[in-house]
């Protein structure tokens, strides 16, 4: 995926609202392979923040906190996952408190003010839903979080 592909379309289309506790993200549905119910809680593995199911094979489960960092355990309120395949072909399941598919949604995108950002800031844009900010996110942005963990 090129850097240009990080820029999301603001055209009308299908988006998915992803909520992790108070964090709310907006992602194009085309970047999500599947949305599934989470029947049981994934458990910590040998690699910090990479959670697994006892019978889930190599599938990696990831959990975001309010401040867009990866958690080492899965809170009780996460019961739905989105499957995202990384550039390397690895299947990852991201655990959420809520997902909502938005049909024919046309987000009005705003830039996060430059004074708030630093070079590592992963989120750069937001839209407004129900008078609250929802941060624009791509699968690429989530993959960058994985790289951060792998390099620690």
């Amino acid at each position: 995926m090129t850097m240009d592909e990080q820029t999301l379309s603001t055209e009308q289309g299908k988006y998915v609202l992803l909520r992790a506790d108070k964090l709310r993200l907006l992602m194009p549905q085309t970047e999500i392979d599947a949305i599934e119910h989470l029947d049981s809680q994934p458990q910590p593995s040998e690699i910090p923040c990479f959670l697994t199911m006892p019978d889930g094979g190599d599938t990696c489960y990831l959990v975001l906190s309010d401040d867009f960092t990866l958690l080492e355990t899965c809170p009780d309120d996460r019961f739905v996952t989105t499957r995202i395949t990384t550039e390397e072909g690895m299947e990852t399941e991201w655990c959420w408190s809520e997902t909502r598919v938005l049909q024919d949604f046309t987000p009005e995108i705003y830039e996060i003010p430059a004074i708030l950002l630093n070079t590592a800031s992963p989120l750069r844009q937001y839209t407004l839903m129900d008078n609250q900010p929802v941060f624009v996110c791509s699968s690429y942005t989530l993959q960058q979080l994985l790289l951060g963990v792998e390099h620690e």
Binding site: D67, I115, L116, N118, T119, S121, L123, P133, F135
Partner: protein, 177 residues
């Protein structure tokens, strides 16, 4: 322009000059104590409103001085912790809560629309009149002062930079950290 209009402009100019003499060439400034013992002054026309119990929405992954965004007057504006930005120390807050913020205006380029931001306000600001006799050197507690200050004066025995809001807030600090 008619002679009458020219005369009127000259008279208006003269009255402004007289006014300056009356107040002894002082200018009002709003003083913020953004951290204990650390103050800055802002041109009074840039300070707009004190918002009580602001509903600040955090923005994940921001710079340490970025507190989030605040809905204010039909728009969303950034909220800045000046203690973090200028001194790399948290602004002290009562019970850890943001009770007040001060909204500010700035204009990057003349003729462009005004832009807005807000700063944490640990204490209510004071208004003082500043004169040339109060001028002093900039303090050395922040590397940013030379880049963002218009001048500096002594207030309560401490150097207090007068900050240009456009220089302070109308830029990115991505490369500075």
């Amino acid at each position: 322009m008619s002679d009458q209009e020219t005369l009127l402009q000259e008279k208006e100019g003269a009255s402004v000059q007289e006014e300056l003499k009356i107040v002894g060439k002082t200018a009002p400034a709003r003083i913020l104590e953004f951290a204990t013992g650390h103050r800055l002054a802002l041109p009074i026309h840039t300070t707009l409103e004190i918002v009580e119990d602001p509903e600040i929405f955090p923005v994940p992954g921001t710079a340490p001085h970025g507190m989030g965004i605040l809905p204010w007057q039909e728009s969303w504006i950034p909220v800045i912790d000046l203690g973090r930005l200028l001194l790399q120390q948290d602004t002290p807050l009562e019970e850890g809560k943001v009770k007040y913020v001060l909204t500010l205006a700035y204009q990057r380029v003349a003729g462009e629309p005004l832009e807005y931001c807000a700063v944490l306000l640990p204490r209510l600001p004071e208004t003082v009149f500043v004169s040339d006799e109060m001028a002093c050197k900039l303090p050395d507690d922040s590397p940013l002062w030379p880049r963002v200050s218009l001048s500096c004066f002594t207030y309560k025995g401490e150097p207090t930079p007068i900050v240009d809001t456009a220089r302070l807030f109308g830029r990115s600090y991505e490369t500075a950290e």
